[in-house]
């Protein structure tokens, strides 16, 4: 029942990394500035976010810019929607089972 996007964002520092990228693409050096963790730690968080398809990386000239991958964000949204669609369908069926009062 777990979905990796949710798990990836459950870690507070990783969420901060993700939140910073929501303002636009950034290289890892800029990301690490002002975060209370080392640059290698930020790289590790970026890797987890990439594996969860929440972040992608693009080469712009000699730089690697990290950016939000909205396909991962959409997938999280769709996951929740499917979860509730299934639950509500089961509720509707149960509510309609008996004669109404």
């Amino acid at each position: 029942m777990t979905y990796e996007g949710f798990a990836a964002l459950a870690e507070p520092t990783r969420r901060q990394v993700f939140e910073r990228l929501a303002s636009g693409p950034l290289p890892v050096g800029r990301l690490a500035k002002g975060l209370p963790v080392s640059r290698p730690a930020v790289s590790q968080h970026l890797k987890v976010l990439q594996d969860a398809k929440l972040v992608s990386v693009e080469r712009v000239g000699t730089r690697r810019l990290y950016q939000i991958d909205y396909r991962g964000v959409q997938a999280m949204q769709r996951y929740l929607e499917r979860f509730w669609d299934q639950s509500l369908a089961a509720f509707k069926a149960a509510a309609e089972e008996e004669p109404t009062k």
Binding site: T2, E19, A22, S23, V73, M76, Q86, A95, T100
Partner: protein
């Protein structure tokens, strides 16, 4: 995560009955695969009062909290917290909201309006993320916005 999950449906039952099935009888319909415990779900329970617990009893008799009742207004509305976080665990500091309203349509049919909101708790929602979901032109506006930001951040 910024957009609430909203659903509206017609149910062929009175709203009093629909309210009861949703709450008192949640154990009759809650999908067993939508359960977070290691031991399978034996019984889902919503205590029928403000501050009532929403919890699961597992086969091994352990209990897992899901949330708390905030509004208890049969047959009109029930509002409960959903406190299962991104690691799929109950978290007292993690709060999202399940808001369910029941409207009469006929004596044997009601409209159920469901909303799961407060989803920022799963992941931060900045203006940019919100735009992505709410822009009338969808992707087009968002991409040009990001191009501008990328150009600004590169300078």
């Amino acid at each position: 995560m910024s957009a609430a999950v909203k659903r509206e449906m017609l149910v062929n039952a009175s709203r009093a009955h629909a309210f009861k099935v949703f709450t008192d009888d949640i154990n009759r319909w809650w999908p067993r695969e939508h359960h977070i415990g290691k031991s399978p779900l034996k019984r889902a329970v919503i205590e029928p009062q403000v501050s009532g617990r929403w919890y699961s009893i597992c086969e091994d008799d352990s209990e897992i909290d899901v949330g708390r009742v905030q509004t208890w207004d049969p047959p009109n509305r029930v509002v409960m917290t959903w406190q299962i976080n991104g690691s799929w665990q109950y978290d007292p500091n993690f709060v999202t909201i399940i808001d369910v309203a029941f409207e009469d349509v006929t004596p044997t049919q009601c409209r159920v309006l469901f909303e799961h909101r407060g989803l920022d708790a799963y992941g931060p929602a900045s203006d940019a993320v919100r735009m992505m979901f709410e822009a009338p032109n969808g992707w087009g506006e968002t991409l040009s916005h990001f191009q501008r930001l990328a150009e600004e951040s590169a300078s």
